[in-house]
């Protein structure tokens, strides 16, 4: 050992050096922009005039007073609650179904990959064509089977637009939840299921006592991931409605985009963007608390 450093401290140094490129990279493309956004949120920065004056909490106060921001927050939370809950329930149901002995089970399972791999923008565009009021497939199906008298404007009415987008999102994501659940189902102790069956336990109680504990962990991970994605949702809404009609589908990301890139108030947009992070943090903490309680039981 010619080096003055011992073999172990040399190894430790190398270990850190190997992390360095990642750390520096993340610092530059995520860490610094994030800190800058926090700083900006307390200033009057404009998009075209990047250095603004310090305005304290003004941007935040204005955000909380703004009906647009409150509306967008409510829409976002509603969208997340609607999509995440339905995705989890439907995902588990599909997984349980495809866990049964079926002819062509491998084919059915293979299909799950398609919605997951389809680019979100293409998905949104394809559902826009399905909802098209004049030649959309949905109107054609519903009128031809007699459920609908005349063609409807699904994305043009505030009563249906947010649900129409949610359906597109759910279609794309249920298969992922199903795949996660199917994988987790491999860990379910089959003997216990058999034993419970012989003891005469109902299917529901079998599911609750044997299956559920095995899949709840992965499902929670899926819920956290989907919530994060849902809170920052932009592309699917942008392509399908751009936030309309009458702002009924305007989510926080679209609100922030408009504030920063349409109204050019970068500082104010930054404060509203940080509200998205806050909502994410709150929801994730709720999940973690739920998971802890589950683990304690």
């Amino acid at each position: 050992m010619r080096s003055s450093l011992s073999y172990h401290s040399r190894q430790r140094l190398t270990a850190w050096l190997m992390i360095a490129p990642l750390a520096v990279g993340v610092l530059i493309i995520v860490g610094w922009p994030f800190l800058d956004t926090i700083w900006m949120s307390f200033t009057s920065a404009q998009l075209t005039q990047y250095t603004g004056d310090w305005v304290g909490l003004d941007n935040y106060i204005r955000a909380f007073r703004s009906p647009q921001v409150r509306g967008a927050l409510a829409t976002t939370i509603f969208f997340v609650a609607l999509t995440v809950s339905l995705e989890l329930v439907l995902g588990v149901l599909v997984a349980l179904l495809l866990d049964q002995p079926l002819y062509g089970r491998r084919f059915f399972r293979a299909l799950l990959i398609l919605p997951w791999a389809l680019p979100t923008v293409v998905n949104a565009m394809s559902w826009r064509l399905i909802y098209n009021p004049d030649f959309g497939g949905l109107n054609a199906v519903l009128t031809q089977i007699g459920l609908l008298d005349s063609y409807q404007s699904w994305l043009g009415s505030p009563a249906t637009a947010i649900y129409a987008i949610a359906v597109a999102d759910i279609w794309k994501t249920v298969p992922l939840v199903a795949m996660i659940t199917l994988a987790a189902l491999q860990g379910v102790p089959r003997e216990q299921l058999e034993a419970a069956h012989i003891d005469g336990a109902s299917p529901w109680s079998r599911f609750k006592t044997v299956t559920m504990p095995a899949i709840v962990g992965p499902l929670m991970v899926a819920a956290v991931l989907r919530t994060i994605e849902g809170v920052k949702v932009f592309d699917i809404v942008w392509v399908m409605t751009r936030g309309g009609p009458a702002n009924s589908t305007k989510t926080m990301s679209i609100q922030v985009y408009q504030e920063a890139f349409s109204n050019f108030r970068a500082g104010s947009g930054a404060s509203q963007g940080l509200l998205i992070v806050l909502v994410s943090l709150i929801l994730i903490n709720v999940y973690v608390a739920l998971l802890r309680r589950q683990g304690a039981q």
Binding site: M18, P33, Y50, V122, L129, Q144, P218, L274
Partner: protein
């Protein structure tokens, strides 16, 4: 557990229903892409077109100057280059870091969680500084600029996936190499990575998929043929200024094709990866 026949029939019917629901939007896109506008707007709607019209595919696969095809093919080239570039850059940073995270028990693991947690940040909360940053470097509306920014999406995923994969690779051979006095980099390069080849392939495909799907950064940071990606091209076409829905659907099909192929290739890795994650719970 032998199931009664009636139950079996119901289960199969349900499975077929699921399959139909999964396939319907994709088939609809295919149908629109080979239909003429007249066919689409004729009511009541005929589900089987009388003749297939592949004009749209021809229109989008031509390099004729100033055609929509040229625009589309440029966007496809840009998307592919950005996807490969961002993946390559991200792997260079993520592979050594993930290995280090996996093998050392020090304070690094906190850093791993920080990197993974950045996934939580919405792009809208980062975009203005990134915009100013690229602008200052003259990288606005360039593929390089977009590649760098897209790494922020790719890195949390690749680092996490690689770390979990390295965790599952036996330490014993590595230990033997260390005893022989090999440096960490040598061990990583000549011992660990060859064993991790399948995992690396999975991570590469995942990463390409993520970048292919990316919309927001490309929407803000790119402008034209030189750097615009497919997702932005499609969003622009879909914005209501184009009433040629067949062309739009065709663009969607062609854009979705590579990711769908990658998805099918990833199938096995994804399922086994999820299973491992599931076992660990």
């Amino acid at each position: 557990m032998k199931q009664p026949l009636a139950l079996r029939v119901v289960l199969h019917a349900l499975a077929i229903l699921v399959a139909v629901i999964i396939l319907a939007p994709i088939l609809w896109l295919l149908l629109v892409s080979v239909s003429t506008t007249t066919h689409l707007t004729t009511l009541p709607f005929e589900w089987i077109p009388e003749k297939l019209n592949f004009d749209n595919y021809a229109k989008l696969t031509t390099l004729e100057p100033n055609s929509r095809g040229e625009m589309f093919l440029y966007a496809m080239r840009n998307t592919a280059l950005v996807a490969f570039g961002a993946t390559a850059i991200a792997l260079c940073a993520a592979v050594p870091a993930a290995w280090s995270f996996s093998r050392s028990k020090g304070g690094q693991s906190n850093l791993l969680y920080v990197v993974v947690a950045t996934y939580m940040l919405p792009p809208v909360a980062l975009i203005v500084p990134l915009f100013a940053f690229l602008n200052g470097l003259g990288l606005l509306n360039t593929k390089t600029g977009l590649m760098l920014v897209d790494c922020s999406i790719v890195l949390p995923f690749t680092t996490w996936l690689l770390k979990s994969n390295f965790d599952n690779i036996s330490h014993e051979i590595e230990e033997a190499a260390f005893v022989d006095g090999a440096s960490m980099l040598t061990v990583l390069r000549s011992v660990t990575l060859p064993m991790a080849k399948p995992a690396l392939a999975t991570v590469v495909l995942f990463s390409i998929l993520l970048v292919w799907d990316e919309f927001f950064y490309a929407f803000i940071l790119t402008n034209d043929d030189r750097s615009q990606t497919l997702t932005v091209a499609i969003a622009n076409l879909a914005s209501g200024r184009v009433s040629d829905y067949g062309l739009l659907a065709t663009a969607g099909i062609l854009t979705a094709l590579p990711p769908l192929i990658i998805g099918i290739l990833l199938q096995r890795a994804l399922v086994s990866g999820l299973a491992q994650g599931g076992v660990k719970g």
